[in-house]
């Protein structure tokens, strides 16, 4: 009897060690899995004093300012492919007594404008600033125009006589909706 038990247990251990397996799982399903993080990032901010619109020491015409920056965080092709939507939030505050035409250009590294946002910022006063918020939701496929950009150029043109006091401010953030596949 004891011999039978010992053989039985020996065989059982052997079967366990040989027959153990991984069942009812499918790891290929992760090829299709999408990570869908939604990422909020500060983008660009600036403050231009009204006298800057009167500064003609540069090569820009009176009443006009312009600046450009690279946005290299979108250079990576994987990141570019992953962005399926981008919501830009721009907050403006104007304490000068001039309206401004504001243009935000997304520009490729080759200099081609891929996406443009235009708006008018109305005049305010030092005591009662004009505040304006713009939410620009850009879905696929238009969002490719954003991800292909390597530069952002911002220009503001004072309507009428350039002001001599107050300032124009902008804050911005972007919310990227990403889809990252498991492959």
């Amino acid at each position: 009897m004891k011999q039978f038990i010992s053989h039985f247990i020996g065989v059982l251990l052997l079967i366990l060690s040989v027959s153990s397996c991984v069942k009812d799982t499918d790891f290929d399903q992760f090829d299709q899995t999408l990570l869908t993080p939604v990422v909020d990032l500060n983008l660009i901010f600036w403050e231009v004093q009204a006298p800057s619109f009167n500064d003609t020491s540069g090569n820009l015409p009176l009443g006009f300012v312009r600046d450009t920056t690279e946005i290299r965080f979108l250079d990576d092709p994987d990141t570019q492919e992953s962005v399926v939507r981008a919501d830009f939030l721009f907050e403006f505050e104007n304490t000068s007594d001039a309206d401004y035409d504001l243009v935000i250009d997304f520009v490729s590294l080759s200099g081609q404008v891929t996406y443009t946002l235009q708006t008018t910022i109305e005049a305010g006063t030092l005591n009662t600033p004009w505040q304006q918020t713009i939410l620009d939701e850009i879905m696929a496929p238009e969002v490719n125009a954003i991800t292909q950009a390597g530069l952002i150029a911002i220009s503001a043109t004072a309507q009428g006589t350039p002001p001599d006091q107050g300032n124009l401010k902008m804050k911005s953030k972007v919310r990227f909706y990403l889809e990252i596949s498991g492959q």
């Binding site: 799982t25 939604v38 540069g58 600046d67 911002i154």
Partner: protein
């Protein structure tokens, strides 16, 4: 006995139950020479033993405290994203994944006299543990948009991996008929080590409260994150087997450690034992690289100045300025200075009660009561195991039953409760076929038919040549 049980249960309740290098099936099993590796003060049988090189001790285990492969990748029609979301929600930063592998290269033991037994050998070990980086998994999976004001904490990143060879020499001394004590000196030779431990700080996105000129204050607060490595360059380029051999034979970073243990044989029935293993450290001095990032920074975005530019002048390199600011505030340094790392110290405690007739092959009776305690056919008992891991002391509690069925066959079954499972049943069979001693042990047997549903799996196997006492 009641107090011992109370103590063990109290230890278990007070600490995190867990899993690691627990070898509850072999511990205290006199028939397996490798039990002396778990308690140098264990009971040494026979005149000598010689482990079959590379086959005397093979041990592999792995597991996760929070999920099984089935939980992650079941083919049940559910969307994988739904399953992963559930895991991220349910797992905590104290959950972990661990893997340990040991291979005895040489293992010998020999008796000097009735009271003294020596052991010596070399084994190789790979040990890995990573805690679930819950905050960073959450950030990667969901992003930060829905987590405003939530600090993503760097201390959730905690992982350690060690590949080493260990040269050891141990002495087992029988003091009297009740007490056996032992100690082992270990020389550690670290082949490869990497760890990211004791990270600090957090990253929070919150609406600006005057501390940022932009909409958000994206606050990297008191960040201190490091990755320590040693031996990485040994595995760069063409690695030959002789490179590995030389790294395994004193070619790495050295360290010293000890094991201590004791057994108290109260009478023929009751036995108490305990051991502390790997009290020691390795000094990582050669081929060391530590990558460290530390600092504070509030990410505001890119600030434009709208300077008045002349013809041909370019706008300032705002993006480069932005990057430089971050690099200056949170520099990433590569350090080459030596560092010391403690080995994960382990503790075993056990109490057992033997009963029934004498074990097959044992002397019939310890009639005078003065000789050595003799083996009984059956034993029941309780074992406690603890290991110091980066975030906590992890513990396991086992109940066991040993049955010496035949002169040459012993079985031990265990029911272990640890972080992986409260229903971990294990079984070891030890057989002496003449001088050949073979053992095979496995646990988590209830899930063996489908390891995907197991939180862990462990197997041990070994062949020794045992010489009986004359």
């Amino acid at each position: 006995m009641r107090y011992v049980t109370l103590f063990l249960v109290s230890c278990y309740m007070l600490m995190d139950p867990a899993f690691g290098q627990n070898k509850q099936l072999i511990y205290g099993l006199d028939e397996v020479p490798q039990n002396l590796m778990l308690n140098p003060g264990g009971v040494a049988e026979g005149r000598a033993f010689f482990g079959v090189p590379l086959l005397s001790g093979i041990h592999v285990n792995g597991g996760s405290s929070g999920f099984s492969l089935f939980d992650l990748a079941a083919s049940d029609g559910k969307l994988p994203a739904e399953r992963i979301s559930g895991l991220i929600r349910d797992l905590s930063e104290k959950d972990f994944i661990t893997m340990t592998q040991q291979l005895e290269i040489i293992s010998v033991g020999w008796r000097k006299n009735d009271k003294t037994f020596y052991t010596a050998g070399i084994y190789q070990e790979f040990d890995f543990i990573t805690y679930f980086p819950k905050d960073w998994a959450t950030l990667a999976w969901y992003g930060n948009a829905d987590y405003l004001n939530y600090p993503f904490k760097f201390d959730h990143i905690s992982a350690r991996a060690d590949l080493l060879s260990v040269f050891h020499f141990g002495i087992n001394k029988k003091i009297d008929r009740k007490w056996t004590v032992g100690g082992r000196l270990k020389l550690y030779n670290s082949i490869l080590a990497g760890s990211s431990l004791n990270n600090r700080g957090s990253f929070t996105t919150r609406l600006s409260d005057g501390d940022s000129q932009n909409i958000y204050a994206q606050d990297l607060n008191k960040a201190n994150v490091s990755i320590q490595t040693s031996g990485l360059s040994r595995f760069e380029g063409n690695v030959t087997s002789s490179d590995l051999l030389s790294a395994g034979l004193f070619g790495g970073d050295l360290g010293l450690g000890i094991d201590v243990g004791a057994t108290y044989q109260y009478d023929d029935a009751w036995r108490f034992s305990g051991s502390i293993l790997d009290i020691g450290a390795i000094v990582h001095a050669s081929d060391v690289k530590t990558y460290q990032a530390s600092g504070d920074y509030i990410l505001e975005g890119i600030e434009l100045d709208f300077p008045a530019l002349s013809q041909g002048q370019n706008a300032p390199p705002y993006y480069a300025i932005f990057e430089n600011e971050i690099e200056a505030a949170v520099p990433i340094d590569t350090l080459y200075s030596a560092y010391t790392q403690w080995r994960p110290v382990k503790m075993n405690l056990a109490a057992s009660y033997g009963f029934g007739p004498t074990a097959p092959g044992s002397v019939a009776c310890n009639c005078s009561g003065k000789g050595d305690a003799y083996q009984l056919e059956s034993e029941v008992g309780v074992q406690f195991y603890a290991i110091k891991r980066p975030k906590a002391i992890q513990t396991a509690l086992s109940l066991f039953y040993v049955r010496r069925l035949l002169r040459n066959l012993t079985l031990k079954s265990t029911w272990t409760m640890d972080a992986l499972s409260w229903t971990n049943l294990g079984l070891v069979a030890v057989s002496d076929l003449g001088p050949i001693n073979v053992y095979l042990a496995a646990d988590h047997l209830l899930t063996y038919s489908n390891l995907a549903k197991a939180r862990g799996a462990s197997i041990q196997f070994g062949i020794n040549v045992k010489l009986e006492r004359r």
